[in-house]
Amino acid sequence: MANSKKPGGLREMLESMYSVIALLFILVACVELCDAAAAFDVYRLIQYDMSGSPFGSRFAALNHHAASLHFPPGVDLSRTVLIIPLRELNITFVREYINQKKPLGGLLVLLPEVLSFKTGGNNQVHEKEKMKNLLAELERLLIHSNIPYPVYFAFENDEIDTVLADIKKNDLMGQPATATTGGYKFVIPTAEPKKVASPTMTNIQGWLSGLKTDGDANQLPTIAIVASYDTFGAAPALSVGSDSNGSGIVALLEISRLFSLLYSNPKTRGRYNLLFGLTSGGPYNYNGTQKWLRSFDQRLRESIDYAICLNSIGSWDNELWIHVSKPPENAYIKQIFEGLSNVAEELDLKVGLKHKKINISNPRVAWEHEQFSRLRVTAATLSELSVTPELLESTGGLFDTRQYVNETAIVRGVKLVAESLARHIYGHQGKNIQIFADESSLAVNPAYIRSWLDVLSQTPRVAPFLSKDDPFVMALKKELAGHVDEVNVQHETLEGIFTFYDSTSARLNIFQVASVTFDLLLLLVLGSYLIVLFSFLVITTRGLDDLISLFRRPPSRKLKTA
C-alpha cells in the first residue's frame, strides 16, 4: 500500500512535481508564439464586362496559404495568396504576372492606413506624388486586365503587419507555407459573385425659377450647371472620388445655395432660370447625362442659353481649363470664355480654353459638355485637367482621397463660376462689381464646402452599387431641395456596354495553421505524458512488477497444471 512506501513515494511525488513544472514552463513558452485567428475588412477589385469581354478579378472566395514577395524562386504559387504592401510593390512584377497569365492563388495589396477614410483621418500623406502615380498605374493595370483569381485591397494596421513580418520570416527561411510546413492561411468565405441585375442611375435636377415680369410672353432663358456624382475605381468599396467628382458636387451645392439666397428676394431675382443637375453614369461615357437631356421637353432644351459642367476642381494651383467642343470663334463660346477670364483675372488665376471636336460616330464621350453639344446646346466643362481622360480614367480611384483635395481651390472655383454667372444674369459683364464678396452675406462658405467634402470622401459612389433609394442619393436630393424651388429625381437603367458583378467587400480571416509534423509531435508528447502518468500511478500503488506484468503474456495453462 502507499503508506508503507511513504518516504520513497514522497520523493517520487516531488520529482513528478518538478517534471510537471518543467512541462509547464515549456508550454508557457510555446503559447507565446501562437496567434489566435484575426479578421479584417478587405475590398475586392472590381469585376465587370465591357462589350462582353471580361475585366477585373473574376473570383471572390479565397482559401489558400499566404506568401510574401520573398518567396523562394521557382515555387509553385497556384495555391498561394501573395500579400504585397504598397511600399514594396513593383509594378513591373505585377504586370509580368498578369500579362503572362502566371498562375496565382490570390493577391492581397496592403494600402497605407493613411488612405483609409475610416481610420486614416486627415493625416498628411508622405511622398504624395509618388504614391499617387504608383496607385494610378496599379489601378490602370488592374482595371484593364482579366485576372482569373481574387484580388483584394486592405489597409495596413498593426495586426496585419505582424502577420506579414511573420510570413516574411518564414519565407526567408525557405519554407513557403503548405499543408506540411504550417504557416498562415487566408480564408474569405463569400459566395460566387453574381451580375448586378439592371443597375440604376439616378439623376437629380433642381430648378430655380427666374423672375417673370408681365411683359415676358416667352419662357425665360435658362442656364444649366451640371456635375456628375458617381465614381469608378479599382476597388468600388473604396472609390470615394474626393476630387473626381466630389469637388464638382460640392461646388454645385454651394453655387445653388448662393443663388437661392439671391433668388429668394424678388428684388434680386434674376431673369434667368437656373437648372442644377447632379447626374450619374459619368464614367460610362456620361450615359446618365444623355438620358437626362433626352428626357427634356424640346422647349426647355431650346431655352438653355448655355451649360457649365464641373469636373474635378479640387486640386489645382493657379490654372483652370475650359473645355469646349464648338470652335472657339463661336460667339457664345467667346462670351462664356470672356466672362470667366474677366473674373479669373480679378481672382488672380488663369483660365485656358481647350477645344476638342466631337466625332458623332465615336461613342466615346470624354467630357460632360459633349452630351449637351450633341443635342445642340452650348456647353463647356470647367476642370483642372488639361488632358482629356481616357475611358475609366480620372473617375475617382484609389488615390483620390480627402488628402489630395484642397478646399481653397474649390472655394476659388466656386467664386469664379458664381461671379461670372451672376454678371451674365444681371448684365454686369465687364464691370468690376463683386457680388459674392468675402465678408458679405453672400460670401462663399468654406465650412459648408469642407463638411460636404468630408461626407463625400467617406461615401463610395459607384453607380451600379447604389440602389434606387440609396440614403446618400436621398441626402443629395434633400440638400438640393433646400436651395431650389423644385427637385426632380429620374431613375434610369445603366444599359450599354457595361455589366457589373457584386461582392465588393468581404471579411478576411487569417488562421495560423500548424503543420502535420506539429500535430504528430503533439500527439507523441501527449501520449507519452499519459503513459508516464499511468505508469507512475501503477508503480506507486501496485509496484513495478505489476506494471511489467501488464506486458508479459499470462503464463500458459499447460505449465501451470504440469
Binding site: 511513504k6 503559447v31 501562437c34 492561411k185 495553421v513
Partner: protein
C-alpha cells in the same frame, strides 16, 4: 478577504456551485453504503467518479465544437491539464470529506486543519475565476497554479489521512 471585493452575481453563483460540489460529495460518501468498501477505497472511488462527471460535463461540449476548427490553439491542451488538476483536487476533497464525515475518532489537533483544507479545496473554482478576472492572469498561468495547488493539497490531505490512520496517541 480581498476576493470578496468586486464580487458579482456570477461569482456568487460559482461559489454556490462549489459548495454544491461539497454537498454532492457528502451525499455520495455517507448515503451510498450499499457496498462493503473500506474507507480508503471509498473516497477514491467517489472522488474519481465525481471528477469524471465534472470533466465530461464541463469540457466535452467545448472540445467537440472548438477543437475541430482550422486554427490551432493551446486552449484545449491546457483544458486537459486543468482536468488532471481537477481530478486530483476532487480526490483530495473526497478524502478530506471522508475524514470529516466518516471517521469519528480523529486526533483533536488535526480537526481545524482538516476543515481549513477542505474549505480551501471547496472554494477552488472561485479562487481560479478571481485569478482570471480580477488579477487578469492568462490561462496557462491559471492552469499552472491549479496543478501546483492540487498537488500541494493532495500531499497535505494524504498526510492528514495517514495521520488519522495512526493508532490514537
Amino acid at each position: 478577504m480581498e476576493k470578496f471585493v468586486g464580487y458579482t452575481f456570477q461569482e456568487l453563483l460559482k461559489a454556490l456551485i462549489g459548495f454544491i460540489d461539497v454537498a454532492g460529495l457528502y451525499l455520495a460518501l455517507t448515503q451510498l453504503t450499499h457496498r462493503n468498501i473500506s474507507q480508503n477505497h471509498k473516497f477514491q472511488a467517489v472522488g474519481l467518479g465525481w471528477a469524471l462527471a465534472d470533466s465530461v460535463l464541463h469540457r466535452l461540449a467545448p472540445l467537440w465544437v472548438g477543437a475541430r476548427g482550422l486554427e490551432f490553439t493551446w486552449d484545449y491542451i491546457l483544458q486537459g491539464l486543468e482536468a488532471n488538476a481537477n481530478l486530483v483536487l476532487s480526490i483530495s476533497l473526497a478524502a478530506l470529506g471522508s475524514l470529516i464525515w466518516l471517521r469519528k475518532n480523529k486526533p483533536k489537533t488535526l480537526i481545524p486543519i482538516i476543515y481549513a483544507c477542505a474549505g480551501i479545496v471547496a472554494t477552488m473554482p472561485s479562487i481560479t475565476s478571481y485569478l482570471r478576472r480580477g488579477l487578469g492572469w492568462h490561462f496557462p498561468k491559471v492552469v499552472g497554479f491549479e496543478l501546483f495547488t492540487s498537488l500541494v493539497m493532495a500531499f497535505i490531505s494524504w498526510q492528514l489521512f495517514s495521520a488519522c490512520q495512526r493508532p490514537y496517541v
